[in-house]
């Protein structure tokens, strides 16, 4: 599988963590025609991928530097970090930025208070709490509340 992966020349999208968000994103991006690889340490996690998913999966611990090397991550890689632990996401994103100089990193953070550790790294973060708040606010406005 890795041989095949290494042959991909287009921009690779690496998704760290195959939870609900990771799996849905992988399905979606694959359908859009991107080269996608999903990484998770638990093989069972890949069951969440839809049957039509034709991208790659890779069983490995994303916090290990070895995983980064095997995936041949470089500046051009697009990385989406969506494991279920904020701290793990922070570690992976910072390794990607500081050690492998990845330019595009998108990371999910449940706890917005932890965002301060990112400030100087310019990593894009997505916080489900904020998104929900904004969305609910919008709906309320639409309804004229």
């Amino acid at each position: 599988m890795m041989e095949f992966y290494k042959k991909l020349e287009n921009k690779r999208i690496v998704i760290m963590g195959c939870g609900r968000l990771g799996a849905n994103l992988a399905d979606y991006l694959y359908e859009q025609g991107h080269e996608v690889i999903v990484v998770d340490s638990d093989e069972d996690a890949f069951r969440k991928l839809s049957a039509s998913y034709g991208g790659l999966t890779f069983i490995s611990d994303a916090t290990e530097l070895e995983t980064f090397d095997k995936l041949e991550i470089d500046e051009q890689t697009t990385m989406i970090v969506v494991t279920d632990s904020d701290n793990t996401n922070i570690l992976i994103s910072q390794v990607a930025r500081e050690v492998y100089h990845v330019k595009t990193i998108i990371c999910r953070l449940y706890d917005p208070q932890r965002e301060c550790v990112y400030d100087e790294f310019h990593i894009d973060t997505i916080c489900p709490t904020y998104l929900s708040v904004h969305r609910i606010e919008d709906i309320l406005k639409e309804r004229g509340a």
Binding site: L65, L91, E98, V99, C116, V117
Partner: protein
């Protein structure tokens, strides 16, 4: 003013460290996210114990993170330790942060992230084991700077190549220096014309790469 030390995570490590720091006169606070562990920790007198997840900013705030002089992250997870130290450093401006790291490969990365001191338990333990296993060849090795620099203690016997030589006559690599000579319980700070005698104990400071050469040059092994 007592210095304030914050320990996050770890039960046995936190306990023995807290005890030793309290004995030395520090004010110690521990944070632990296991209630039973907290109860155990609370048995230590004068120790402030906070039950909570130390990777959350509000827990660190409760522990008075702003006024800590040193923060030490002792959890079993590298990512938690990284976040604890980064929060302490960036949000609470703790002067010194220390992190335990399990994966030796990440030591450099942790330093890169601005953590003041990174302790890799695996490296430290293998280092000690190695030292114990080869105790005959070298009396003692102390590693500093994550093993890049070693301080060796070498006992000089009668048959060794360096005996009765002056220091400038010995061909030591430039990354090594003989810093001190112990002779009959007396210490000598050596100079180029100091002669090495049998029975001397040499304290040598050297780069890890030349350690073999240095040992061979001085002791012949």
């Amino acid at each position: 003013m007592k210095k304030n030390v914050l320990l996050v995570g770890g039960l046995h490590k936190a306990m023995s460290l807290a005890q030793s720091l309290l004995n030395k006169g520090y004010a110690v606070t521990v944070i632990n996210d296991n209630y039973n562990d907290c109860m155990t920790l609370a048995s230590i007198e004068d120790l402030e114990v906070i039950f909570g997840d130390g990777t959350k900013p509000f827990v660190l705030e409760e522990a008075d993170g702003e006024n800590m002089d040193i923060a030490i992250a002792l959890t079993n997870k590298d990512d938690d330790n990284l976040v604890i130290c980064e929060l302490c450093k960036k949000k609470f401006h703790v002067k010194k942060t220390v992190a335990l790291v399990r994966d030796p490969q990440k030591t450099r990365f942790f330093y890169q992230m601005g953590i003041d001191s990174v302790v890799c338990a695996i490296n430290a333990i293998t280092g000690i084991i190695e030292q114990q296993a080869f105790i005959d060849e070298m009396t003692n090795i102390i590693s500093v700077e994550d093993g890049r620099v070693n301080i060796l203690e070498l006992k000089i016997g009668h048959h060794m190549p360096s005996v009765n030589k002056k220091l400038w006559e010995i061909d030591l690599p430039s990354e090594a220096i003989i810093g001190y000579i112990l002779r009959n319980d007396q210490g000598i700070v050596p100079r180029g014309d100091t002669r090495i005698l049998a029975g001397d104990t040499l304290i040598v400071i050297c780069d890890q790469y030349v350690q073999q050469t240095v040992t061979k040059e001085l002791t012949g092994r």
